[in-house]
């Protein structure tokens, strides 16, 4: 078989062989069997709707035979198409069998013609599309675009009611005692410091700091606690400043303070 076909090729004229080879070489350019059929159909030079599918099937099968002869390996889909066309050819040649179900040969042929026409139409519009004026080739966008600057602004909302509720919340915690009232029972460190600075000069000896409390802060326990704390803090401040010394002999024993004779620098 192989030898035979080889012999056949040998007997072809040079022109025929070139033509055949051109077709074969072109197989690489085909986009599948439908594309090949479309190309073959052009040789019929008729409207695709009136194309002879029978002739087309013959041409295709001949092409596949030739390819075989030249020992060109065809992709499976080309062979599937060949088998289908051979079947279609037989359906078209034989008189229709009324007992057989399914589409007739004519219907199958019509659909193939439709597919070819549709593919051709897509090719044509694709070409028209690509030939249109195109952005970046025929017409152009702005060369110097200005970006839109995104500005994100956050606004905070708060109403007078929010404010009042917040304040009410704070005051509720304080059990409604007005803030200024609080201050009357608070002896601040600043006050203690002022007082001690003026008295420190007299404290050459170790003196219990509880004796430094102002008179009227020694009875009411609330006031006494505040004054004690402030006086102690003020004492530490004076020590830190290098103007006094502080000591406590043991836990819970009196804390004593005396002035430092030679203040540290």
């Amino acid at each position: 078989m192989q030898d035979d076909s080889f012999g056949n090729i040998e007997t072809l004229s040079v022109a025929d062989r070139l033509a055949a080879e051109a077709l074969i070489v072109d197989v690489e350019g085909f986009e599948g069997p439908l594309d090949l059929l479309l190309t073959l159909s052009r040789t019929q030079k008729v409207d695709l709707r009136r194309i002879s599918v029978l002739d087309l099937a013959r041409q295709y099968l001949a092409f596949v035979e030739q390819a075989k002869a030249l020992r060109i390996e065809l992709a499976a889909d080309y062979l599937v198409m060949a088998a289908w066309l051979a079947y279609l050819k037989s359906r078209l040649l034989l008189p229709p069998d009324p007992t057989e179900e399914g589409p007739s040969g004519e219907e199958l042929a019509a659909h193939l013609a439709f597919q070819l026409e549709r593919l051709q139409a897509m090719r044509d519009v694709a070409a028209r599309l690509m030939a249109r004026d195109r952005l970046g080739r025929d017409f152009f966008a702005r060369g110097l675009p200005e970006g839109v600057e995104r500005v994100r602004r956050v606004t905070y909302s708060a109403t007078l009611l929010d404010l009042m509720q917040a304040y009410a919340r704070i005051r509720t915690r304080d059990d409604f005692r007005p803030f200024v009232m609080d201050r009357q029972d608070v002896f601040t460190m600043e006050q203690a410091l002022d007082r001690m600075r003026s008295l420190l000069g007299f404290a050459g000896q170790w003196t219990d700091i509880s004796s430094w409390l102002p008179e009227d802060w020694q009875v009411d326990p609330v006031r006494w606690r505040s004054a004690t704390a402030a006086t102690f803090a003020a004492s530490l401040e004076l020590v830190k400043e290098g103007r006094a010394e502080i000591r406590q002999t043991e836990s819970f024993s009196p804390i004593e303070l005396r002035r430092r004779e030679k203040p540290r620098e």
Binding site: F114, M122, R142
Partner: protein, 228 residues
């Protein structure tokens, strides 16, 4: 071009929306649209125009006026889907060698696939393959997606709920189309029934389903597959 008429029109138009805000006169709105469209290389949607213009503006009307104003000029106001852009007049392309961008040449498969998506959208991969009679390679679709000329559409309500492809506004912009209905020859194709989804009679016709074993649709790829 009849600005005075338009100006008397605009407050009335703005009134129902919000009585507190009065839209700027239409001539001023036209200037605003002009500035925004000039500043952008991309088409700007009516919605974005409205967002950026003062409350109560009517960007659609302002665009229409601007478009008429630029009729026959060196640049034109062009519609791209729901958006608008200013582009140079195509007849002046010869002056623009400096601006021309070399685009990658598309393969034949890509061009055909693009046309099929444009004319048949929304279209599934299987439908593209049926029309071309060959399976569609991943690379072809990827290239078109990357160019942002096609994108995924909704899934089809058929078994398997396959994804579909549709063309994008960038596609329209690139090919100077107002919308997909303006595709060249679309009416003729439709009239000829060539855009119908006509299923093959029976199930005997070789459908792409039998072919698509992951093989590339480029012919070289195919032959390579069978070489050894």
């Amino acid at each position: 071009m009849s600005d005075p008429d338009i100006q008397t029109e605009s407050p009335a138009e703005a009134a129902p929306r919000d009585s507190l805000f009065e839209a700027p006169p239409m001539a001023e709105q036209e200037r605003m649209v002009e500035a925004i469209l000039f500043a952008s290389a991309e088409p700007v949607s009516l919605r974005e125009l409205a967002d950026r213009m003062p409350h109560g503006s009517d960007p659609a009307e302002a665009v229409a006026l601007l478009r008429a104003r630029y009729e026959g000029r060196g640049v034109a106001v062009m519609r791209v889907g729901d958006a608008w852009a200013i582009r140079t007049a195509p007849d002046l392309a010869y002056l623009m060698q400096k601006e021309t961008v070399e685009t990658r040449k598309l393969s034949r498969a890509a061009i055909e696939t693009l046309a099929i998506v444009a004319y048949h959208q929304p279209v599934t991969r299987a439908e593209i393959e049926e029309i071309r009679g060959v399976s569609v390679s991943r690379g072809t679709v990827d290239q078109l997606l990357e160019l942002e000329w096609i994108r995924f559409g909704r899934r089809k309500m058929t078994p398997g709920r396959p994804v579909t492809f549709v063309v994008t506004d960038q596609f329209l912009d690139h090919f100077g189309l107002e919308n997909a209905r303006d595709l060249p020859g679309l009416q003729d194709l439709r009239a000829a029934g060539l855009l119908d989804n006509r299923p093959p009679p029976g199930s005997l016709a070789p459908g792409p389903a039998t072919l698509d074993e992951g093989d590339e649709d480029e012919a070289p790829g195919q032959t390579e597959l069978f070489e050894d």
